[in-house]
């Protein structure tokens, strides 16, 4: 998962970028020519984008970049990665190196996710 600082984010181009609001149904979008889909967290406790990312990967077969933006904190990165986010623009005050460390804290999880669709019991 690519972690993007706030300053780096300002330098990124916005070509082929689709920004989806939290109430958008991923299945209803045209994803042709889209390279990056940005899903916004208005508050880090708003969990709708987790479902959206998962649907984009699992149902729409989207292979491009899914980027988290907004109130993105390092303690939710692992959860984002498991739901299919491939990059995250961290909130300005977040510690990127600590964020990288937290991504590898758990050795495995019980339920299936985007990177490991099968639950533990079926692997």
């Amino acid at each position: 998962m690519r972690l993007i600082s706030h300053t780096e984010h300002a330098t990124l181009t916005h070509d082929h970028l689709l920004t989806l609001p939290n109430d958008a149904d991923p299945m209803q979008q045209s994803l042709q020519d889209v390279q990056t889909i940005e899903l916004h967290f208005p508050k880090f406790t708003d969990g709708r984008a987790f479902s959206q990312a998962l649907m984009l990967r699992r149902r729409c077969g989207f292979k491009g970049d899914i980027r988290a933006s907004g109130d993105v904190l390092i303690d939710q990165l692992s959860q984002m990665q498991r739901c299919g986010f491939s990059s995250a623009v961290l909130r300005a005050d977040q510690d990127i190196s600590k964020g990288r460390e937290l991504l590898t804290h758990f050795s495995a999880f019980y339920q299936g996710d985007v990177s490991q669709p099968q639950p533990l019991f079926a692997r």
Binding site: G47, R48, C83, H105, F106, S107, G112, P117
Partner: protein
């Protein structure tokens, strides 16, 4: 009981280590209060009226004696307030006034209505040490709070009940694993509670949960679930409605994924009081259900139903719940044991009453299910001191193959007691003060910690519960009143389940004073209580001094009007609420009297 695998154990330790790192960052100022809050909550750490509160998860209520001993150690060594705090707290409580209140207590644990266990005084800086201690016996506080899937509750008699259709525990465990750190469902609109029952009598109040699951067998004998959604208490009490009459057992995870995903997408996030799934189901009923079915079909056909429970996984988990090997009963027949017990009870009224109320039949006729009563004078409902937790561990080892269950009525159940051992168990439990024969009676009341500990409470629950307990200590009177569910909540969040009480008491705040609303006729959905429903309010709220008299007046109406053998709840349902209402309101302490007495 479920046997933790190396994976399960490592997972709990990794969780404890993750929490320690989060706590350290918080204490060193690198993680703000606001950011730390949901992280600590999803580990069971609240900040309450005077101190942090820890809610320990007891998955579907099952505990072993080693766990009970560690819980005792935590009570003894950690549930100790910082110097001066306890005294300051007591002084603040004393200033509230109203009826006499029991003193605050420390170094104890409290059994909750969701079969969990809470501590009230552990300093936050010691919280990571406590999580390590819990992890040493495979325990934790994962998802005991926060807007996520909470601890899954079940029938306290699961696996031993005579009326069981299917043992729900393997499914409760599989659901526990599935919901643990679910990446998609950690930040739902609001908390999400699942209860599962596998017996004909619903002892898990399933209709009052976000999801209620009933295990059943269809006409072909296949095992499946009746799935209900959208139940909940709070300020809008609603009982759950059926979304699936029969779902094959191996599809439950796939189906719940659909239920929770649609809720995550559609549930309201603009108003905390309208964020529970019950509001969504109420507002969008058929549309919500159609969307869940459509999403479930997509999970099956497009995703390949990845969370279909395999037979091998079911068999693995199910094997953990095999009945323990019990000592032989010396060839004594179940009938002979029954006769012995009847004879023992003949000359001992207390023992007879204990057998009647605290002992239940077991699927093995040589065994019994025994409830240790944590409802007695001098301690709040469901409170256990460190020594009592240790003593319960001894009883579990000696009489119940090392196993105990937390009941949703805030007692401890011993599920594997040999019928021959009942006299010995009775004696030991009585010596410990845990053999009060009041299970399911008026004094076996549910009460939340209320305004003595909880920062959400509008009024205290414990002084009211103590006053009612004191008033009804006469066992003859208590047995004449029969089985009654009395539930007390200190605020509308309804942790004390007042909506489902035959008699419900709700603490409210008016002009900074404690008042209590009384409801009648509520039901948790058990056979005793009838179809699940919320009680009806009898009138404007009462002062704390009036509550006991109101309860007494209500019970007097029952005593006067009951037909032979009729229970309180049946009488309320038969004659309606009006006569009770009249009596309750007549029991108000007249303000005129008070006014007159001040006039010379």
């Amino acid at each position: 009981m479920y046997q933790y695998t190396d994976f399960d154990k490592r997972f709990v330790r990794e969780r404890a280590a993750q929490y320690r790192d989060q706590l350290e960052r918080h204490l060193s100022g690198r993680l703000s209060d606001e950011e730390f809050r949901p992280l600590r909550l999803q580990n069971g750490w609240y900040v309450q009226r005077y101190a942090p509160m820890l809610r320990v998860a007891v998955p579907y209520g099952e505990l072993n004696s080693a766990q009970l001993r560690v819980l005792a150690t935590i009570a003894r060594d950690y549930d100790t307030p910082e110097p001066g705090l306890f005294e300051r707290a007591q002084t603040t409580q004393d200033a509230i006034g109203g009826i006499a209140a029991p003193a605050l207590t420390k170094n104890y644990a409290h059994f909750t209505t969701r079969q969990n266990l809470q501590y009230n005084w552990i300093p936050l800086h010691k919280s990571a040490d406590v999580m390590d201690l819990l992890a040493s016996v495979n325990m934790h506080g994962i998802q005991t709070s926060g807007n996520c899937i909470r601890n899954i509750t079940s029938d306290e008699r699961a696996g031993v009940a005579v009326d069981e259709i299917v043992d729900p525990r393997p499914f409760a465990e599989i659901l526990r694993q599935w919901s643990t750190l679910h990446p998609e469902f950690a930040f739902l609109p609001r908390k999400f509670k699942i209860a599962i029952s596998g017996a004909s009598d619903d002892r898990a109040a399933t209709a009052w949960h976000d999801v209620g699951l009933h295990m059943q067998r269809n006409a072909s004998g296949e095992v499946g679930f009746r799935v209900m959604v959208g139940g909940g208490m709070g300020r809008t009490p609603i009982t759950a409605s059926v979304i699936r009459e029969f779902l094959p057992w191996n599809q439950i995870l796939n189906f719940l994924e659909a239920v929770v995903r649609v809720y995550n997408r559609w549930g309201r996030r603009d108003n905390i009081y309208k964020a529970r799934i019950k509001i969504l189901v109420k507002a969008e009923g058929p549309r919500y259900k159609e969307e869940v079915e459509a999403e479930y079909q997509r999970i099956l056909t497009q995703d390949g139903a990845p969370h279909t429970i395999t037979q091998a996984e079911f068999d693995r988990v199910h094997a953990c719940f095999a009945a323990p090997v019990l000592a032989a009963h010396n060839g004594v027949s179940a009938e002979a044991i029954h006769t012995q017990l009847t004879q023992a009870a003949d000359g001992n009224k207390d023992f007879a009453r204990w057998l009647q109320q605290n002992v239940a039949a077991h699927r093995d006729p040589h065994l019994r299910i025994v409830t240790l009563s944590f409802k007695r004078l001098g301690q709040a409902p469901g409170d256990a001191t460190a020594d009592q937790l240790d003593a319960a561990a001894v009883l579990a080892d000696r009489f119940s193959c090392g196993e105990a269950r937390v009941s949703h009525d805030q007692n401890l159940v011993l599920p594997w007691v040999a019928a021959q051992d009942l006299p010995a168990l009775y004696k030991q439990a009585k010596d410990l003060g845990l053999a009060k024969p009041n299970i399911r009676m008026l004094t076996d009341m549910i009460a939340c910690p209320g305004g003595d500990y909880c920062s959400l409470a509008n009024a205290r629950s414990l002084p009211v519960s103590a006053a009612i307990s004191e008033r009804y200590q006469d066992l003859d009177e208590l047995f004449d009143l029969g089985e009654i569910d009395l539930h007390i909540s200190g605020c509308i969040n309804s942790c004390g389940h007042h909506h489902s009480g035959h008699i419900g008491i709700l603490g409210v705040d008016k002009d900074g004073k404690e008042w209590y609303q009384v409801t009648l006729g509520g039901s948790d959905g058990s056979e005793l209580s009838g179809a699940p429903k919320a009680g009806k309010v009898v009138g404007p709220s009462f002062s704390s001094a009036e509550v006991v008299d109101v309860i007494e007046a209500v019970l007097q109406v029952y005593t006067d009007q009951k037909t032979h053998g009729e229970t309180f709840i049946d009488a309320v349902n038969r004659i309606g609420i009006d006569p009770f209402k009249l009596a309750a309101n007549a029991a108000r302490h007249s303000s005129d009297d008070e006014a007159l007495s001040t006039i010379d």
